[in-house]
């Protein structure tokens, strides 16, 4: 549905996007993850034909973004980051305007606008001026205008920024319902959002793709770690631990301030666990705590992003 090949975008001397390639299948939700200034918005603006790339080829729904931009624009719905809306219009007038300008036949404009207001929970504010509604409703109007002509591709730039937790949940449910029918690309720097919503995630930093996979694969790929808390002589325990098989490394855990914490990096989980157990029994240490540390997307993200900088 979306194919991006060797995409590069330069603003004068500054290279915002550096030779990115990826593709998105029909019905997929792709998460676009990256720190601020990574180039997420630039990629989205190119996908929506707001400006052309410096180099590279971008195909959306079978049309070239640069050569056939009108055909691309007919098939996308776009929610820009700042949710720019015409403040002086009423919600229903605005959505009718967008429906019409996106090519909905005149007879169906009212019906489509009414349907999308219903879907996005906007019926209560349909007669209010956009400048008078709350941030949560604004965001929903933004999503509604992207959805109004039932586009094949949805491009959402940080769709849940600035919402309260309840609204975030509602918007996420809304996006989840879109999967399958629509192809969705959404950018965010909220990590749990990616695990909840996206089938696949692309992490970009400084204009380059640093990782691309399913969220759960990204999490398991990196080495597993285990926290151990053992009573006894710290030095001996450390020495003993490093001799256990299936363990790549041992370091002291000092963050919690409690005594005798160790973080063990496991090479083979089962072997390491058994080895540690045997070692404790042999030395008659007292085991206080032993648990696998859950690797969050956050850790991977920070690792990937800081690795680049080092």
């Amino acid at each position: 549905m979306i194919e991006v090949e060797n995409l590069t975008k330069e603003y004068g001397e500054f290279r915002a996007v550096d030779n990115i390639s990826f593709s998105v299948e029909k019905g997929e939700i792709l998460g676009f993850l990256g720190p601020n200034g990574a180039g997420k918005t630039t990629v989205m603006r190119i996908l929506t034909c707001f400006f052309p790339p410096t180099k590279g080829k971008v195909m959306v729904a079978g049309y070239n973004c640069f050569e056939d931009s009108l055909n691309v624009r007919k098939r996308i719905g776009y929610l820009p980051q700042r949710v720019p809306l015409y403040e002086d219009m009423k919600v229903n007038d605005y959505l009718r305007f967008v429906a019409a300008i996106k090519g909905t036949p005149a007879k169906e404009v009212k019906r489509k606008a009414a349907k999308v207001m219903d879907d996005c929970g906007l019926s209560d504010v349909s007669n209010k001026l956009i400048r008078a509604i709350s941030g949560g409703y604004r965001q929903r109007v933004g999503i509604a205008q992207a959805l109004v002509n039932d586009p094949e591709v949805l491009i959402l730039d940080e769709p849940t920024v600035g919402l309260d937790p309840k609204q975030i949940k509602e918007i996420r449910n809304l996006i989840k319902e879109l999967a399958g029918k629509h192809t969705v690309i959404l950018s965010t720097h909220i990590l749990p959002e990616v695990s909840i919503l996206c089938g696949r995630v692309i992490i970009i930093n400084k204009g380059k793709v640093v990782a691309e996979d399913r969220p759960e694969n990204l999490a398991t790929e990196s080495a597993q770690r285990m926290l151990l808390r053992i009573n006894g002589n710290a030095q001996t325990i450390g020495q003993e631990l490093s001799r256990v098989g299936g363990i790549k490394g041992v370091e002291r855990e000092q963050a919690s301030g409690e005594a005798n914490g160790f973080i063990v990096v496991l090479e083979d989980e089962k072997q390491g666990r058994q080895g540690i157990q045997a070692m404790i029994e042999r030395n008659k240490f007292e085991l206080v705590e032993m648990r696998l540390l859950e690797v969050s997307l956050e850790d991977i993200f920070i690792k990937l992003v800081t690795k680049e900088e080092a």
Binding site: C49, F50, R73, P80, D88, D93, V98, A100, I101, Q145
Partner: protein, 260 residues
Amino acid sequence: MNIRNVSLILNRELKSYFSSLTVYIVILMFLLMTGYFFYNLTATFSIVSFQAQSDPMLAKQYQLLNINETVIRPLFGTIGIILLMMTPLLTMRLLAEEKKTGTIELLLTFPVNDVDVVLGKYLACLVVVLTMILLTATYPVLLVTLGEPEVVPIWTGYLGMVLLGASAISLGLFTSSLTENQIVSASMSFAMLFFFWLISYSAPLVSAGLGRFLSYLSINEHIESMSKGVVDSTDIIYYLCFIVLFLFLTLRSLETKRWR
């Protein structure tokens, strides 16, 4: 170009114009200023006319004691200048505001051509300016009911006003495309319109040929003959070229925005 898209944008712009106070204030100021000049011109005319009845010398002195020459012609001159002063206030928001608020990002990713956007916005502002010009019709209507002016110069004079207004909008739309600051846009429009207004003043200082060229460039020279009742094709062509040139530059400016 897609007529439906143009009319959709035109409608949206018009709604937005008339939902803000600016338009009403601009129209009010315009009518106050032109009304003041109209009152002065007619009052002077009637006083001089009365005096001339008893003073044949004075009547001779004012050889052109003719309502077309002493009221209508100067009135069109004044309306023209005030029009040039007011249109930048109407055009400044057209594109600059969309850039400031970011709505341009959605507008340009909707499936519409840039031409549709430019024409829709241009025509919306033209409707406002035509309304303004139409409201001044009360002055000649008063003259026609109370006096006996020649009617043809009134029609042709209004044709000149419409062309002048349409040109000023085109230039204003262009300056609005250059910046996201409405004040900057209005200042640029003022400066450029005054340049085109005053350029004929340099005509006597240069060689005859260049002088004629400078006069031809001047935006208000061309309404002179129209307010006398003469419609010259070169005048019409001048305004049409002016309008098309700045609409074209606006389009180009939007396009280069995409490239940067």
